[in-house]
């Protein structure tokens, strides 16, 4: 079965600084990978996804992620964070590796922005 690990429960970053949130997955083949963000009181919003092709994917709100097969990682990055980026971020993989199946999530990373 697939699993997703987000090793950092909390990350604190100064406004304007760069950000990298880590995600490692466990799956034999190339999975469908996602990053979601949840702001307080809101549902989860998709930031970006990777299915195949170019390993560097661009998402909304200035985020990008890089798929590295050799490291089983899909880390999320942003060159300069804004106070509005404070939220909880989730890495996820499709349960079966593809298709319209449900998602397996990591435990999430709380992003705190310092002024």
């Amino acid at each position: 079965a697939q699993s997703v690990t987000q090793p950092d429960i909390h990350i604190t970053v100064s406004e304007g600084a760069s950000l990298e949130l880590r995600c490692n997955y466990s799956y034999g083949a190339t999975p469908y990978l996602f990053w979601y963000v949840q702001s307080p009181g809101q549902g989860l919003q998709l930031l970006l996804k990777y299915f195949s092709g170019d390993t560097l994917v661009q998402g909304i709100k200035g985020f990008e992620a890089e798929f590295k097969r050799s490291q089983s990682s899909f880390n999320l990055r942003k060159p300069s964070v804004h106070w509005s980026d404070a939220a909880e971020y989730f890495c996820a993989v499709v349960r079966s590796g593809g298709g319209a199946d449900g998602l397996t999530f990591g435990k999430g990373t709380h992003l705190i922005i310092q002024p």
Partner: protein
């Protein structure tokens, strides 16, 4: 276009009582998913409907949970009788066609507290 809606937003019940959560997916979406997040844990998949049929219910914790999707439109998740460990946030998501991966759109969740 309206997003995924969930009702109620909060529910507080006593152990042993029954609670029914409702999810209205985006109109025309074949797939409907239920997830749950218990405090401090990851978001966990519960089940997946394709139209009115249960495609995958392997994540349902036990037979106290009953999910239905009437006519392939809205869905209900009933917990009967509720136990303390059922407390958490229940998310619903929907996506378009069943035959390939499409983005899952999440509702804001229902926070269930069992006392």
């Amino acid at each position: 276009e309206a997003g995924v809606t969930q009702f109620p937003s909060h529910s507080v019940i006593e152990k042993g009582q029954t609670v029914t959560l409702r999810c209205d997916p985006i109109s025309g979406h074949d797939n409907l998913y239920w997830y749950r997040r218990v405090m401090g844990k990851e978001i966990k998949f519960l089940l997946h409907f394709v139209k009115e049929s249960k495609q995958d219910e392997s994540g349902m914790p036990n037979n106290r949970f009953l999910a239905e999707r009437t006519g392939g439109t809205y869905s209900t998740l009933k917990v009967q009788p509720a136990e303390l460990e059922d407390s958490g946030v229940y998310f619903c998501a929907s996506s378009q066609a069943w035959y390939s991966y499409n983005e899952q759109f999440f509702g804001p969740g229902t926070r269930l507290t069992v006392l």
